[in-house]
């Protein structure tokens, strides 16, 4: 017995080393698979405060470009409002008998609610990039919700605390996004392959369709995370490799991740219902 203790004492450094490395590997694996409320990440209250302070300094240097984006977005929204006003004046079906015509209740047609949030931490150059937002569960943000900016898709909420949320960026090696080519509705999967943060790859586009450089790629709406038709990017090159049964398509992302300042978290009020239905039917895929 004494020999055993002597042995352990002699190799204590190595044993502690092995134990700590095992703990690290456990942390890595757990964090990569587990979605929910983790304590030790940038959604943590104190960590979030430090990052918020940092971004409050660095945001000063980008005020001009932030204002520009907001103003441009306002213009687009205003245009849309005017268009809706015009159609509302022409369209009088809302006043007709609801027994014959479907009532135009907006909660039935658009189950999506947007929560605006400020980006307080962001990275684009790592293999697995994350963002931290200064909105949290107190503002109605929940893990699994989609995140978009005025230009297009940004990512998906990973964990939330009361006032902060971490987001798995589209620039993450494990992130898959269901997308389609707008012109002919062929759907595939968007995947970021690392390196350049403006480019991603569109996979699983079969060889019988003819994608063209410049085609718009948008979300498919097949998942409950994003609404149908949120911009993802435009096709920048199409290659056909002889040993593959799918095209190799490079997509230029519409969002410049290095310039993100304000984003919207998309809440789908029908998500639970739809997920449950698809799960019960046994057709739910793991694709995000």
């Amino acid at each position: 017995m004494r020999n055993l203790f002597a042995f352990i004492y002699r190799f204590r450094a190595f044993l502690v080393f092995v134990l700590l490395e095992a703990l690290c590997v456990y942390l890595i694996v757990r964090y990569n698979t587990y979605q929910g409320a983790a304590f030790f990440n940038s959604a943590n209250k104190y960590v979030g405060r430090v990052l918020e302070y940092q971004s409050s300094v660095s945001d000063y240097f980008r005020l001009a470009s932030i204002n520009n984006t907001l103003a441009r977005e306002n213009a687009v929204l205003r245009e849309e409002v005017m268009r809706h006003k015009a159609t509302a004046q022409i369209d009088s079906t809302g006043q007709l008998d609801t027994a014959i015509y479907a009532s135009t209740d907006t909660t039935h047609t658009l189950p999506y609610i947007l929560h605006a949030g400020r980006v307080i931490n962001n990275s684009v150059r790592r293999t697995n990039n994350y963002l931290t937002l200064s909105v949290g569960s107190a503002d109605g943000v929940q893990p699994g919700m989609g995140v978009m900016s005025s230009k297009g898709v940004v990512g998906r909420v990973k964990t939330v605390s009361e006032h902060y949320a971490t987001v798995t960026s589209l620039l993450h090696s494990q992130m898959l996004l269901s997308a389609k080519i707008k012109r002919d509705n062929t759907f595939g999967t968007i995947k970021w392959t690392g390196g350049n943060y403006r480019m991603a790859q569109l996979e699983y586009i079969p060889l019988h369709v003819k994608p063209v450089k410049g085609d718009t790629v948008m979300t498919s709406g097949f998942n409950t995370v994003f609404p149908d038709g949120v911009m993802v990017g435009t096709i920048s090159s199409v290659a056909r490799e002889s040993d593959k049964s799918f095209y190799t398509i490079r997509v230029k992302l519409s969002v410049d991740f290095a310039q993100l300042s304000y984003v919207y978290v998309v809440e789908n009020t029908h998500q639970d219902e739809r997920t449950e239905l698809e799960q019960n039917a046994g057709i739910l895929t793991n694709e995000q």
């Binding site: 080393f17 703990l23 994350y130």
Partner: protein, 175 residues
């Protein structure tokens, strides 16, 4: 030179981690050269520090960076590896007559060659661990190796600059 873990090391811990999070996070050269300046805390610790204590310090500093980087466990694993290898590299580089009690990791005291070999060996191990744990696979090993090489050089240069700027050169150099 102090040969014990003291206030100065705690100050270095806070300072280097803060620099890493607030400044170095935004500083990437050619999309491949990352600077992990927080490693300086582990490198500049006293030479005769307890090995087990050193391992826990490595875990602590790596974990603090992980919390801010959202890379749970990756930097902690690499830093623990570095902390484990440090005594071995120090043994390997022992001067002919052993370390004096006054010796510390200082470019003026130990000489440029000693410092460069010590730093680059440990940085190489640390950076290799970080980048390969990040990608998990060997799929893009070429690109990862380029990242390791460029980042090791970058961090190494920063370490030398830190030494030349902030570490006193009161003692005469060893032969």
């Amino acid at each position: 030179m102090n040969s014990k873990f003291g206030i100065i090391n705690i100050v270095q811990f806070v300072l280097f981690v803060a620099l890493q999070i607030l400044l170095m996070d935004n500083l990437v050269i050619f999309g491949a050269g990352f600077c992990f300046i927080y490693v300086a805390f582990l490198l500049f610790l006293p030479i005769h520090i307890n090995r087990v204590f050193l391992l826990f310090l490595g875990f602590a500093v790596g974990f603090s960076v992980d919390v801010f980087y959202d890379t749970m466990g990756i930097h902690a694993a690499a830093s623990v590896l570095l902390a484990f290898l440090r005594p071995l590299v120090l043994n390997l580089l022992t001067p002919r007559d052993g370390y004096d009690t006054g010796d510390s990791v200082n470019i003026h005291v130990m000489g440029v060659r000693w410092f460069l070999v010590y730093t680059l060996l440990l940085l190489l191990a640390h950076h290799t661990a970080v980048f390969f744990l990040e990608t998990v696979s060997f799929a893009e090993a070429g690109y990862t190796l380029v990242k390791v090489a460029v980042s090791t050089l970058f961090t190494g240069v920063v370490m030398v600059i830190l030494q030349l700027l902030f570490f006193p050169s009161k003692k005469a150099t060893r032969a």
